[in-house]
């Protein structure tokens, strides 16, 4: 029996090894599953976008729009179904649970960034608290902190961010936590037209608190790949107000030709952030 086995083994080795020689190493199983998840979601979104485009171009939809028949237009819109974020989310959570550590975290990152499903986001938040508070990669997930805090609600969302601030040993997760706390305070700081003096003072305190969080977040994020985005609220406040000299934009046009906003200095310029979508 032993002899047979070893003969069989050497035969297998002889066949298998040469067959693999010269090939790239086989990707890890979790990489295969990750790529599959991404490919399937991308395909589903593409199908959805195409179907939506076709609907917009259809006579029936144009007619409903022209006649301002919003009920009909809405009904038509609803006939194009979005990819099932919950089903994809459930799958991502299972894959995350199967793959421990940072390998699992990336399934959660992809889910938070794309699936837009409340239950999935809640489940992600639970796993952050349980497994990933100290992960150096937690910043990748908290980049999509808006989805998490929307799913959790103001109080629970804030509690999660507080835990990150207190317990993460890394700069980027902490910076994102402060950034999102600032955002949620800022959103709550919209002043009514007929606000009382007391309401105004309260509002000013909120704005100051948000600004302080943004400033701290920006400082922590310096030198990271997300420095610009996390530092943006502070950049807008300090550099992009009416009366200030406009900061330059250096980039490429849609044809790939490099140019700068300052090339147009000496003219009146309107900058339009736009898209066809």
């Amino acid at each position: 029996m032993n002899v047979t086995r070893s003969v069989l083994a050497s035969w297998l080795l002889a066949v298998v090894i040469p067959a693999q020689a010269g090939q790239a190493p086989k990707p890890a199983p979790d990489q295969v599953e990750y790529d599959k998840l991404v490919a399937e979601w991308t395909a589903a979104m593409k199908t959805y976008t195409e179907a939506n485009k076709q609907l917009m171009a259809s006579e029936e939809y144009k007619k409903a729009r022209a006649e301002k028949d919003t009920a009909k237009a809405r009904e038509l819109m609803a006939s194009v179904s979005r990819p099932d974020g919950k089903a994809f989310g459930t799958r991502a959570l299972e894959l995350a649970d199967k793959n421990a550590g940072d390998d699992g975290l990336r399934f959660l990152v992809y889910a938070a960034a794309n699936f837009n499903d409340k239950d999935t986001s809640k489940a992600i938040a639970e796993r952050v608290l349980k497994n990933y508070l100290k992960s150096p990669k937690l910043g990748d997930l908290l980049e999509h902190g808006m989805a998490l805090s929307r799913a959790l609600g103001a109080e629970e969302g804030d509690a999660l961010l507080e835990r990150v601030k207190a317990e993460s040993p890394h700069a980027l997760p902490k910076a994102w936590a402060m950034y999102w706390q600032g955002q949620s305070i800022q959103q709550g700081a919209r002043l009514k037209k007929d606000a009382t003096a007391e309401e105004k003072a309260e509002n000013e305190a909120k704005v100051a608190k948000a600004d302080a969080l943004f400033a701290a977040a920006g400082t922590l994020a310096q030198g990271t790949e997300h420095a610009d985005r996390i530092g943006a609220p502070q950049f807008e406040k300090e550099r992009l107000q009416v009366g200030m000299e406009v900061p330059d934009i250096v980039g490429e046009d849609v044809d790939g030709v490099p140019f700068k906003l300052s090339d147009y200095r000496g003219k009146v310029v309107m900058i339009d952030y736009w898209g066809f979508w």
Binding site: G231, E236, V242, E245, V246, V268, I271, D272, Y273, G275
Partner: protein
């Protein structure tokens, strides 16, 4: 927004005025497939494959689309709007800055 921007660019084509876009379509194909039929003649930065999450709008803290800035000939931000402020407001703002520029160069 396009129809008015088109007529604005057309009306001011001989004036020292430029409309510069920051196009935030995720795919350049989306841009190229529609740019002609919409008569977009002005130059745009491309915000990159992340679309509205791209680096230029991220740095400028852009929170809504369109976001508009109007810069005078000295490079000073004179107006900023989140959302289209309306054709008349836009025209008046730009015409006033062009007049101001003319005054300045006369001096």
């Amino acid at each position: 927004m396009f129809p008015h921007e088109r007529s604005l660019v057309e009306r001011l084509k001989d004036k020292p005025f430029s409309l510069i876009g920051v196009n935030s379509d995720k795919e350049k194909d989306t841009y190229f497939s529609q740019v002609k039929e919409n008569g977009i003649s002005w130059r745009s930065f491309w915000n990159g494959p992340k679309g509205t999450g791209g680096p230029i709008s991220a740095k400028w803290n852009v929170r809504g689309w369109p976001t508009l800035y109007v810069i005078d000939h000295k490079g000073v931000i004179r107006h900023k709007w989140l959302g289209n402020p309306g054709d008349e407001t836009l025209d008046a703002a730009i015409d006033a800055l062009l007049a101001e520029m003319q005054q300045d160069t006369k001096k």
